[in-house]
């Protein structure tokens, strides 16, 4: 298995893709996942979710996890 990586909104656009796969043996933390797939520094204020829950960059990740990177959210209303 592997780690599934997902990108949303501006980050998805900047990276030119909405998804990636990472070999779990190459990474220990969410921050490692970003470094492995992005090729650019993590933009400031980027939010991270591991398995659909908010996480810190240092959070450990493992085989089968889904790790997502996205900008601050802007749902709701005025």
């Amino acid at each position: 298995m592997a780690i599934t990586v997902r990108f949303f909104a501006g980050i998805r656009e900047r990276l030119g893709r909405n998804q990636a796969q990472v070999d779990a043996s190459a990474v220990a933390s969410a921050a490692d996942v970003w470094r492995e797939v992005a090729g650019v520094p993590l933009p400031p204020n980027t939010l991270i979710a591991v398995n659909q829950e908010y996480a810190q960059p240092g959070q450990a990740v493992r085989d089968g996890d889904e790790v997502a990177f996205f900008p601050p959210v802007t749902g709701g209303a005025a």
Binding site: R6, F8, A9, G10, L47, A49, Q52, E53, Y54, A68, F70, P71, P72, V73, T74, G75, G76, A77, A78
Partner: protein, 142 residues
């Protein structure tokens, strides 16, 4: 209690009426507070023609459930509901509906307000506006 993320037009008052019709409040509810957010045709002094709301399926529902359950722990409410649009929207389209039912109005107001505020900072939605100068991602505001 009830979370729905939809890509069809949101008819907020019909949603609330339909939800109430399925409930057995049985005289215990004295107060309902409902908030509806709609798309404006301006933002930061620029005319907005249309909008696309992107979201993170699965996480969106999970986060909205978590927020509603927090509200139900913080205040004494009987029921709550959230319906949020995604996809393409036009000005004046409803975007989000939040409702809370309680025995007392303070609790209903506070819970409804809590849910919409938490939703804005935590629910994974992103607005891209189509303006006269092209598309732009909305930056987070208060």
């Amino acid at each position: 209690m009830s979370v729905r993320v939809i890509d069809t037009p949101l008819e907020p008052w019909r949603e609330v009426a339909a939800f109430e019709a399925t409930q057995k409040f049985a005289g215990k509810v004295g107060a309902a507070c409902v908030f509806v957010g709609t798309m404006r045709d301006y933002n930061q002094d620029t005319t907005v023609r249309s909008m696309v709301l992107e979201h993170y399926p699965a996480m969106t529902e999970r986060e909205l459930e978590a927020i509603g359950n927090e509200a139900a722990r913080k205040w004494t409410i009987e029921k709550w509901m959230v319906v949020h649009r995604h996809g393409a929207l036009q000005p004046s389209d409803p975007i989000v509906l939040v409702a809370a039912w309680s025995g007392h109005r303070e609790q209903a107001f506070a819970a409804c307000r809590y849910i919409i505020e938490a939703l804005k900072t935590r629910a994974p939605f992103w607005k891209q506006e189509q303006t006269e100068n092209g598309a732009r991602w909305v930056e987070r505001q208060t």
